[in-house]
Each structure stands twice: as structure tokens, then as C-alpha cells.
Symmetry: C2
Subunit: 286 residues, 2 copies
Amino acid sequence: MIIDKLYQEVEKKGMVCVGLDPNIDYIPAELKEKYQDIDEIIFQFNKRVIDCTFDLVPIYKPQIAFYEAFGLKGLMAYSKTLKYVKSLGNLTLGDIKRGDISTTAAMYGKGHFTGDFEADFITLNPFMGYDTIEPYLPYLREGTKGVFVLLRTSNKGANDIQYKDSEGKKIYYHIGDNLNAMAEEFMGECGYSSLGLVIGGTHTDEAIEIRDRYPNMYFLIPGYNAQGASGDDVKLYLNGLNGGIVNSSRGIICAYMKEKDGYENFDYFTRKAVIDMRKDIGFNQI
Amino acid sequence: MIIDKLYQEVEKKGMVCVGLDPNIDYIPAELKEKYQDIDEIIFQFNKRVIDCTFDLVPIYKPQIAFYEAFGLKGLMAYSKTLKYVKSLGNLTLGDIKRGDISTTAAMYGKGHFTGDFEADFITLNPFMGYDTIEPYLPYLREGTKGVFVLLRTSNKGANDIQYKDSEGKKIYYHIGDNLNAMAEEFMGECGYSSLGLVIGGTHTDEAIEIRDRYPNMYFLIPGYNAQGASGDDVKLYLNGLNGGIVNSSRGIICAYMKEKDGYENFDYFTRKAVIDMRKDIGFNQI
């Protein structure tokens, strides 16, 4: 099961998932001058981040929206980035948040688990129902792929639907309970399933409750720093366990921008950001 | 407002939205032999459908999953298809069902309202909350673009989240009521907003209730035939009004496959499918 590989990599390297969300404003002027085409500018920036962090990072998560924004060339950069990470032996997580019915979902599965956009894991949106998750499961059954399904996000709008109470429990618990049952089929030897959950790092009041309720589900935790979750918040979700990966995008890929000599020492500041974050979220405790 | 253009086109041509979901099995062997590259095979099939229906069809809806499935070449076909429809003066609806927070949503907006993948309308998924709709609204404010937000879908899984009761009303009504308020800002002269809703054509028991509750919202109605909604079901959502577009994909693009001499008479059978559907859903009544 692919989840075993992720678990082992986290055990060795820590839980930092680097979000490769290359907003054009984050890319050093030097790279923009050196390369002509947007696909090459984006890819070379990602490569720079990856080259100086791959021994510290189990998995990279490109957010596909930042690539779709630049059309076909942007998606060429997305494809090149995924292939480059794979060539180094690291894992990839395509943050695509797709959600659609039957044959349409099967097409997304083909698109993101094979071919140009192949990733080891993808994110999914469950709004249209649990039948929209099923078309991806044959890949999990084969052991080669995994998914993280949105459960409770870290934005303000999480209250609008996810937090609504129904039949005595919140919508996100309805979703989680159903996915938890579905996840049993894809358990790895590490004790977690290749079907995991996306749980925003804020709202820490119920963090331990969520961790305890789904002991066999691995978490993708966004929201660290940029969306208001501190290292202590995130630790509650991990509960001293190797039980999830914590995403940071701007905190890592923009680290160099905060320093006067940032570009000259890009590798140093980028590595330092990963190492500091790893410590902050308790890598030494797992 | 773009909704006025859609309204006028529907008034002239009828409410049939053709779903361009080019599953490779639907494409005639003759086209697969004639063209080498998958992007050209897909595009030429779409072009064939478009060329024989554009005077009967206000808007075409490519489902992006069927293009993402073929990676970069598939998305080249998606881009070419959108540009071709635009060159004929017809409207386009990118069925992308994206849903994500703040800057990420802004990137999807840039990706699908400008550049290679530019469409007149796109579909959105509201699961992460109403703040995830906001980044698209500047395009609606300019009057040039529109969105259809998922409200209640036609698949079995619609029951899992959308149908749950909370605070005395169903989740889909919570969503609809909030979007209805948001839609007021984007009202066209036709009496509808450029912010519309996706309402599956099945579950007709509450069709009139939904139509009455949101009198100023234009509907995108999928599920005709393939997903079990009959012409009479769909009429309930339209209630004798020009108040929505009804999507059919397989019913139109596979019409030729049902006939012995289908390929030789592709144009005839494809046009006939649109004309029959238009009649079945009550074009003469609006």
C-alpha cells in the first residue's frame, strides 16, 4: 500500500509537505530573466525548491490551480514538476480537489493517476456524495495510489456547510464516519489507510476528538502558518503520532523573500524553513 | 450581463446544452483512423458535433475531466474546442466544478475565464463555503462571465450531504438561499442573475418548489435521459419559463451510434437528437 511508503518516509524525514504553489510574484526576478517560457520559469523555480529540500521532505504537493492559471504551458510545468519529484524517489500529491459522478470521476482518475499528470496521491471533494469517491478506489485496491478527501477545511467558509449539525452530528462527522468505513479496505501495514482525510489545521478545540475518532486515517493538514494554525495546533492533530503530513507553501517557497540576501542564499533559507517547521510541529516527538 | 446573452440565445434556439464529453468509445473509427494525435481526434469529433448543431444550440458544455484524462494533449483539445465554439458566436460552459479557497480560487478564475481555457460560464463546487465563490465574482461584476454553482445533483450520492436536514431545512436549501442573496448583485435585464445553479433533473417532487424559491436564478439541469430525468421531469424545473438550460451529452453525441447507417448520416441523427430533445423538454412552450 502506498500509505506504507508515505508513513516510512515521514518516519525518516518528518511530516513537512511542501506546497508547490508558484504564484508568479514568488518567483525570483533572476529566474524570470533567465528563462523565456512560463512553463520553464515555473518548473525551474519548483526544481530549485525541490533540489535543496528533497532529503527533508517526504512528499510535495503542487496545487494544480496555480498551473491551470497559465493554461497549457502552466500544465506543462505541473507535469514536469510531478515527473521531476518522482525521478528523485519522493512522493507526489496532486492537490486537485476534483469531485464528480461516475464516468466523469473515472476520467479524473485516469487523468491524475496515469499519464502526464500522474501523482501518488490526489485530493478529492466529497460534496456530490460517496459514490463519487468509488471510481478512484480500483487504484487504491492495487496498492499503488492514495487519496485524501476533504473533511473539514481551515477557511472561514468551513462553517457554511461542513459545520452544520444534522441528525445530532456535524456534517463533517457524517462524511468522516462514512469515509472511515470505506477506508478499512485499504489499510496498510503501518496501521493507516490509503484513503485519508484533509483536515484544516485551525479549530483546534476538536482536533483531538477528530484524531481519536479516526485512528486509522492519515491526515493531510493544511493551514500551517498562512491560514492561522500554529505548531502547537498542528501537534494536537498528530497527537504524538506519525499520523499525517502538514502542508506549508508560502512558509517554505517564499522563505527566501524575507531576507535581504535571500536569493543568494536561497537554498539555505528554504532548507532552514523546512527544518524550523519540522521542529515546530514536533518531528522529534514522533 | 452575460446571462442576457444566454437568455436571448435560449429564446431563439431552445434550451438544449450539448455536453461535449468525448469518451474515446463514442468517437467513430473513421475519425480515429484519419487523425493521428489524440488532441486532433477529440477536437475533430467535437467539431463534427458542433458543425451540425450550432444553429440549434445556445451553449456547449465540455466536461473537462474527459480532456484531463488524456493529459496535455487532451487539454489541447479542450482549448481548441472552446475557441472553435467561440469563433461561431455560440456560448461556452466549462464544466470544471472547481472549489477552493482564496488565492487558489483566484487562480482557477484566471485559468478558466482568461487564456487557453477561457469559457463564458463555469461550474463551481460550494463545499468549502461561500468565501470560495467570491474570487470569481469580479468577472461577473464586469458583466462578461457567469457561474453555475452545484446545488443539488442527480446522482444517488446527492443524499449523502446535499439532502441532510439542518436547522429545519435541507443543506441544499441552505446553500441555495445564500447563493440567491449573493446572486442579486449580478442581475441581467432578462430577470436572471449571472450567478446560477446546477440542479439535477431527477427528484422531481421538489422541482417546482426549487423553481419558485429561486425565481431569479437560471438553472443548469443535467441528468436528462442518461441520469433518469424525462422531458416531463425537466419541464417542472423550467415551469414554462425560459429559466434554464438542459444538458445532454450521450443523448446527442452518441445518437449516431444507435443507427445502422449512423456514421454516414452523422449530421442528420445528431441534429435530430437535438430537435427531438428540444421538443421533449417543451421548447414550444417557452
